[in-house]
Symmetry: C2
Subunit: 357 residues, 2 copies
């Protein structure tokens, strides 16, 4: 997306992974970026890495990104608003911040992007390319300020959507916060059992690995998230325990039709869950049983690379009970048939399905 | 593993995916395999596909695999025991079957392998290679019968472990059955919310996809599993809702130290969760940030293929909030350093970690 933006100066407050990636991305697009950090050594490192042009405060910055830990956002955004220009933040919970900072030039935001890398060392100017970036404007946010923030984020390649702040918080509680807590809960339950019986973990196959994968992440932001989004998280936890209690009843009663229709619904919904990067409806999923030999995965991925097909996502789907699995590749829809044919010519059994319709 | 097995005739009852894969695997190793199925067309198709040598009953078979749906196992195993030889089954729940069939020549079993392919069309003689295959002998099972079943399963490449039947059922409830129900529950909760707000699914990034992936499977065996393993599943569901209630308290109280230590423990345990295929301690994990361009994944996998490194598992790990992610490859430990060096020479930032110690 190419947007004519008449401004060229940005201020970053907090040059960690997200702030650093914003700085790097804007510099790569010709902007002048100034940054500070509560840790002077981190700001100096950001300068060394080319994430900012200069350490300090740019009084002429037209946009300030407050990319500090959530607990510092309100204070830092207030200082930035006093200096001028539009101000946005990147905290993962939005209702409290948006209501505390209901100012015409403040536009709260939440980029749905991250990395396993930590800190400014992981800064990546393309981190937001194709990511969803939520903006949660307040009642008094200027349309002009909103448009400016949206345009700058668009430059970074993100897809911007506007959501009411409380709605944002309820949604991320459901698709991010409570799933994270649930993954950790399942992992700890299994760990308790494994203390008594080390066989357990040998039986933990593909499905269990998938369900607990995010529990391997750093606790990092979670204590803040759980405080800032307490109400929404408690409400989703209640809904989850309520739903599990209902499933307990279905299992206790041996209610086969109830169980089947409930599993069928989940299956339908999961199959149609859109993949992250490209817009829904433009992606296809290729499923290819994987032979267990060196080079099998390379053969498939190389074939697609030679055709210029970009693989958005790749996973080995195991059945709940393990097994070697099926390679699932997300590719853009126009390339899917091309890819299928080339792989079929090599003897692979490939099925193709359009996603997210 | 090479085992001298003095017998060469096997009987398969139920030529679906699992029965068919056993038949094919044994035929590929020189055995004579006879098979039947409740659906004559399926048995005929098994013959066509070379899964069995003959359709029917072999009165001289030294081993019978009962690979029917769980509800038919006891009746079919009784018939097979009357004919002679040792008899084993492949049902996913073991306590009831083992106690109903406590016969010297019956050895209950559960291969922890599956496939997304369905039915005999998906039969694969290598399906069990490297898989865990649990045997749950009863009180009266002969040592000789056990040794025979173990040897034949060993021929198929599986790693055999013996577990008490009730313990098996408790373990699979924890690492397979309840996680499956939980994945479906999370997916259906999100689907309910998405009815009111279609934004929701655009916010459902990597972590949510991982946690709900197994919900995309066929309901297939689950109603039987939930009936046969009811007690263990109810008990794990109770433990899960209990643990979630405790986490609710931690969140409600804003108990940061409690939350952090609990998340840290889950993180440690998940990082050390062994991967499926090779024995723990012999596997390493390579983590490589993935550039978003055609050919990036191919470059990595091809490099390893050229070195003869077998990739046991591959996934793109996203942070809980999305982003492009990091490719995680499981390879055998002796190859890990070789692989790291070759990838580093190509400019990739690779970290290596030994798994499952």
């Amino acid at each position: 997306m190419s947007v004519a933006v008449p401004i060229q100066r940005a201020q970053i407050i907090g040059t960690g992974l997200i702030g650093g990636s914003i700085g790097l991305g804007l510099r790569q697009r010709g902007w002048r970026v100034t940054g500070t950090d509560a840790l002077p050594a981190r700001a100096a490192r950001a300068l060394e890495l080319g994430v900012v042009d200069e350490v300090g405060i740019d009084p002429d910055a037209q946009i300030t990104f407050v990319a500090t830990p959530a607990s510092h956002v309100v204070a830092e955004a207030r200082l930035a608003l006093r200096r001028g220009g539009v101000v946005t933040d990147v905290a993962g919970v939005k209702a409290a911040i948006t209501s505390e900072l209901d100012h015409p030039r403040f536009v709260a935001g939440h980029p749905m992007a991250g990395s396993e890398q930590e800190g400014v060392e992981g800064a990546d100017g393309e981190l937001f390319d194709g990511a969803t970036w939520v903006l949660t404007p307040g009642e008094h946010t200027d349309a002009e300020a909103y448009a400016l923030v949206q345009a700058v984020i668009g430059l970074l390649g993100a897809n911007v959507i506007a959501v009411a702040p409380s709605r944002h918080d309820a949604l991320v509680a459901l698709v991010s916060h409570v799933p994270h807590l649930t993954a950790a809960t399942l992992m700890n339950l299994a760990a308790d059992a494994a203390l008594e019986d080390t066989t357990l973990l040998r039986l933990a196959a593909g499905g269990f690995r998938d369900m607990t994968r995010i529990a391997a992440g750093h606790p990092g932001i979670w204590p803040d998230v759980c405080v800032d989004n307490r109400a929404a998280i408690l409400s989703v936890l209640d809904a989850l325990t309520g739903a599990l209690t209902e499933i307990r009843r279905v299992v206790a009663d041996g209610d086969r039709p109830g169980l089947i229709s409930w599993l069928e619904r989940a299956r339908e919904e999961r199959i149609n869950l859109p993949v992250g990067a490209p817009p829904p409806g433009e992606t296809a999923e290729l499923r290819i049983p994987v032979p267990d030999r060196p080079g099998a995965i390379a053969e498939v991925t190389t074939t697609l690379a030679e055709l210029g097909v970009n693989i958005f996502d790749i996973e080995i789907a195991h059945s709940a009970e393990g097994g070697r699995g099926v390679m699932v590749l997300a590719v853009d829809l126009p390339s899917a048939e091309l890819a299928r044919k080339a792989l079929a010519d090599l003897g692979h059994r490939v099925s193709v399905r359009r996603i997210g319709e």
